[in-house]
């Protein structure tokens, strides 16, 4: 979706956005463009500045540096900030913030009343939105009579019914229990596919971000590490942080020396790697996913330069897979390898392993 309208003005454009509290930099020079209709996740560990970024977008926090533009018009800058009520956005809060003094229907109707819709169309919109989030039968309940999941749906309905220009969500699922969380991820994506609201979704849960997003922006220490579609983010992480944060991985240190990439006690031909991503001679760090390494008891049939002899150092059975720690070519390197439950090796066994250079992502520190 991000590539669909490359030339259009971004719905939201964050330009070197910063927010400094005293001497602490919560958000550091963050630049990011979001296309109309795009679903972007801000993903990162707790305290990395996701909420602060979202609240700057919403207008609750004024940036100390940089700007935010919506459809080309600056709405936040250190000089001033359009108040939240003028931004035509809506937001789903971690606490849901459903107003306990109003019924479900009144909660959902609130934004429409502010927009001075007439009674009839308010009723129609509220009812159809409640039906969409499967709460049609509960319109006259008070929030205290709803479960956590239902409150979550009220929050969604309330935020979406006004057809916001940008929909903001701050860890909306973190208060739900695990099963419901799983279900709601898909629900949120389903609603996005239905309405196509431009969405910024904050989460520290990579699973949520993967399921829901068109693109994921990974943040760390207030900075943007990488922004990419989920598949590419997983397969082509660009920084050590991203590789480690998204999924499990091995870090493999090597050196580029001419036509070879040299590791501890083994080396691989350089031409097997994705060429454009390897820089000139010098040290290089790769991320290798545990499932991208294959194991076999004997040497692999074809005569491949990427097969190495190795030894099992440790093993753990996880039910759906084995986790082996394997040391290739008697080096000090330890690789974590995921294998099918049927592939049983004992600690101390010698075996063969095969690397796939195409799946080895070189990282910037």
């Amino acid at each position: 979706m991000s590539g669909a309208e490359p030339k259009s003005v971004p719905r939201l454009s964050l330009d070197r956005l910063s927010c400094v509290y005293g001497s602490f930099t919560a958000v550091d020079q963050l630049s990011l463009d979001i296309a109309p209709g795009e679903f972007i996740s801000l993903l990162g560990p707790s305290g990395c500045g996701k909420t602060t970024t979202l609240r700057m977008i919403a207008g609750f926090v004024r940036p100390t540096g940089g700007t935010i533009a919506m459809d080309g018009a600056v709405i936040s800058s250190p000089q001033g900030s359009l108040p939240p009520e003028k931004r035509q956005m809506s937001m789903i809060f971690q606490s849901y913030a459903i107003w306990p003094n109003m019924t479900v229907a009144e909660n959902v109707a609130f934004g429409l009343k502010l927009r001075r819709f007439d009674r009839e169309s308010i009723r129609g919109k509220v009812q159809s939105m409640l039906d969409t989030v499967k709460l049609g039968a509960l319109a006259d309940r008070y929030p205290a009579e709803l479960s956590g999941g239902q409150q979550q749906r009220v929050a969604l309905a309330r935020a979406m019914v006004i057809e916001p220009r940008v929909l903001l969500l701050d860890e909306p699922l973190s208060n739900l229990d695990a099963n419901l969380r799983e279900e709601m991820r898909f629900e949120i994506r389903r609603l996005h596919d239905k309405f196509h609201f431009t969405t910024v979704y904050v989460t520290h849960d990579q699973g949520e971000a993967m399921v829901t997003s068109d693109r994921i922006a990974v943040m760390n220490l207030g900075r943007l590490e990488q922004i990419e579609a989920p598949y590419l983010l997983y397969t082509r992480p660009k920084t050590r942080f991203v590789a480690g944060f998204i999924g499990r991985t091995n870090f493999l240190e090597g050196r580029i020396e001419g036509e070879r990439v040299v590791f501890d006690r083994f080396d691989l031909p350089r031409n097997l790697f994705e060429k454009e991503r390897l820089e000139a001679n010098g040290p290089v760090l790769f991320s290798v996913r545990p499932q991208n390494i294959s194991l076999d008891r004997g040497p692999f049939s074809e005569d491949s330069p990427v097969r190495l002899k190795g030894r099992v150092i440790e093993r753990v059975f996880l039910g759906e897979s084995w986790d082996y720690i394997v040391s290739p070519a008697d080096s000090a390197v330890r690789l974590k390898v995921a294998a099918m439950p049927s592939q049983v090796f004992e600690v101390g066994d010698t075996l063969w392993l095969k690397l796939d250079p195409q799946q080895m992502a070189p990282l910037k520190e």
Binding site: V9, D71, I75, S77, F93, A97, N101
Partner: protein, 577 residues
């Protein structure tokens, strides 16, 4: 939606001065107005008082003469000394009454706790001056019922207790002050985990030893906190001294202050004489904060821990007996005497049918003046409750949301009346607002403003606490959907907090209905209120009507408190805030 027709486009930020103006929310005007109102209500009287104290009466030139005449006279110094001694005695007596009962109620298996609590609440809502009148009927030198009973039983020719003496004055004052210490102490005792006591028991400490070495030391800061409140209240007390100390010719500072307003009025000297009262209050509050700051070790052990009640065996009857003794002195006996008076033609005559009458109540309702007085008290107090809650809520909101630079000053302004004794506030209001240019003397407004200011701290503390408990996301949800702050306050904050706001309103309304020390300087001929009328009735010796009026006030208060409990659904009165 194309970029050109984007509504946000029109609202784009402009840099420079224009942008600055655009950022000025219309609601800001309301914050500024609230701040101005607070400044007007709280700071003006104080500043005016200070200036007056340094001005010559006629010429208005700068002088220290007022301080010289205020403190250069022996009788004034004596009054200061008496006031401090009086407050000290009342504090000690209150602690002696409150602490054992608090321990009994909070940590033992004493029976009939709810009765004791209800009667202490009764003492709490009794205006001290009404209690004092009850005690005149009980302990008047010859005619008091206790003395008559004593003479009848012992055949003695004189009574055993004289209300018009210093110790009895202190005792009677303490009977209506001890609930403060009770509230502070039970609150702390409720937090001490039994494990603390059990830890001592397991090491071989006996129960008595544990109480004195473990439990009481843990709550000592709370007891001191309550004691300081009592001390301050007593130093500034006007009603009880006016009723008892004045006829007894005991010089008390507040009475002295009052007398400066009799002809010839010497408001400037009064101002000079009042300033140290503020200083004393400030100093004690500072001490209280220091003392209560160390409370943390109680809080640390509290909440989580379970609380098992200490079984007292037969001793539980002893502690119940003591509790009942204290509450009967505070509530049962005086109200019995007041009831007798309220239904009598003459309170001193016996229990005969000929003496029985409903006329006292009838006169209150029939007489235009009395009716209006009662109406004034309730309407002014209701209005003051609304004003105080509204101002406090706005101030607490501005402070909590950091909407104005220097917002902390607002909370300081709201809390400042706490260190202004009621009588000083009355004088300050009189000095600042009675005469032109404000010229509010004799209006209902000056009383309403006076009451609001006096009880502003109660309102502020409660509003701030409720706001802190409210998740700001509730309000942010309004704003992101397109509502302004004011709409968020009106549609979400106030409705969600309505119960606690109602509780706060009651906590202003109830004391305002009986407020005397501020009112006495501010009432005019057309704006009399119950408390002032009671004082007048007591000066005239019309105890029968006074008693009837007292019952009226008490009945109304009980009704309101019960209603409050029902609506709010929790104990909002006997609770520390």
């Amino acid at each position: 939606m194309s970029v050109a027709e984007s509504p946000v486009q029109g609202a784009t930020l402009h840099r420079g001065p224009l942008g600055r103006l655009r950022r000025f929310e219309p609601a800001s005007l309301i914050w500024v107005l609230a701040a101005a109102a607070l400044l007007f209500l709280v700071a003006t009287p104080l500043v005016r008082l200070l200036i007056s104290s340094l001005q010559a009466t006629d010429t208005g030139t700068f002088t220290f003469d007022n301080y010289v005449s205020a403190y250069g006279r022996m009788r004034n110094l004596e009054a200061l000394g008496n006031s401090l001694l009086y407050a000290l005695e009342v504090t000690v007596l209150s602690a002696l009454m409150a602490v054992p009962i608090a321990w009994g109620v909070s940590r033992t298996d004493m029976p009939a706790k709810s009765v004791v609590r209800a009667l202490i609440l009764g003492a709490f809502i009794t205006p001290p001056y009404l209690g004092a009148i009850g005690w005149i009927l009980l302990a008047g030198p010859n005619a008091g019922w206790l003395n008559r009973a004593w003479m009848a039983v012992t055949g003695s020719h004189s009574g055993f207790i004289d209300i018009y003496t210093f110790p009895v004055l202190s005792l009677v004052t303490a009977l209506y002050a001890f609930p403060y210490i009770f509230v502070f102490t039970t609150d702390a005792l409720d937090r001490v985990s039994s494990e603390m006591e059990e830890a001592a028991n397991i090491l071989g400490a006996g129960s008595v030893y544990t109480v004195f070495r473990i439990t009481l030391p843990l709550v000592t800061p709370a007891i001191l906190g309550g004691a300081i409140v009592v001390f301050l209240d007593t130093v500034a007390l006007f009603g009880t001294p006016a009723i008892i100390a004045l006829p007894a010719r005991i010089r008390i500072m507040t009475l002295q202050l009052w007398q400066y307003f009799e002809f010839p009025v010497r408001a400037e000297v009064a101002a000079a004489y009042a300033i140290p009262l503020i200083a004393i209050t400030l100093a004690l509050f500072w001490i209280q904060r220091a003392v209560l700051g160390r409370r943390s070790y109680v809080a640390l052990t509290g909440k989580g821990g379970s609380r098992t009640l200490t079984p007292l065996g037969p001793w539980r009857w002893a502690i119940l007996g003591y509790s009942l003794f204290v509450v009967s002195l505070a509530v049962i006996l005086p109200y019995a005497a007041l009831a007798k008076a309220a239904f009598s033609k003459a309170w001193g005559l016996g229990f005969t049918l000929a003496n029985l009458t409903f006329n006292n109540f009838y006169r209150l309702l029939a007489e235009e003046g009395a009716r209006r007085t009662i109406l004034h008290s309730f309407t002014y107090s209701a209005a003051a409750g609304c004003l105080a809650v509204a101002l406090a809520l706005l101030a607490a909101y501005v402070v909590n949301r950091k909407l104005m630079p220097g917002g902390a000053i607002l909370s300081l302004l709201c809390m400042a009346p706490l260190v202004i004794p009621g009588i000083v506030l009355g004088i300050g209001f009189y000095a600042a607002f009675a005469s032109p240019p404000v010229a509010l003397y004799g209006t209902a407004l000056i009383l309403i403003l006076g009451y609001s200011t006096r009880f502003l701290p109660i309102a502020y503390v409660n509003c701030a606490a409720s706001l802190r408990a409210l998740n700001p996301e509730m309000e942010e949800a309004v704003r992101i959907l397109g509502g302004t702050r004011l709409r968020a306050i009106a549609r979400v904050i106030v409705p969600v907090l309505k119960k606690s706001l109602l509780g706060t309103w009651l906590l202003v309304f109830i004391p305002a209905t009986r407020e005397l020390s501020t009112a006495i300087f501010l009432v005019g001929a057309q704006t009399r209120v119950i408390s002032v009328m009671m004082l007048d009735l007591s000066e005239n010796g019309s105890f029968e009507i006074l008693a009837a009026l007292g019952f009226f006030l008490l009945g109304a208060t009980i009704l309101i408190v019960l209603l409050g409990y029902k609506i709010i659904g929790r104990d909002f009165m006997l609770r520390r805030s």
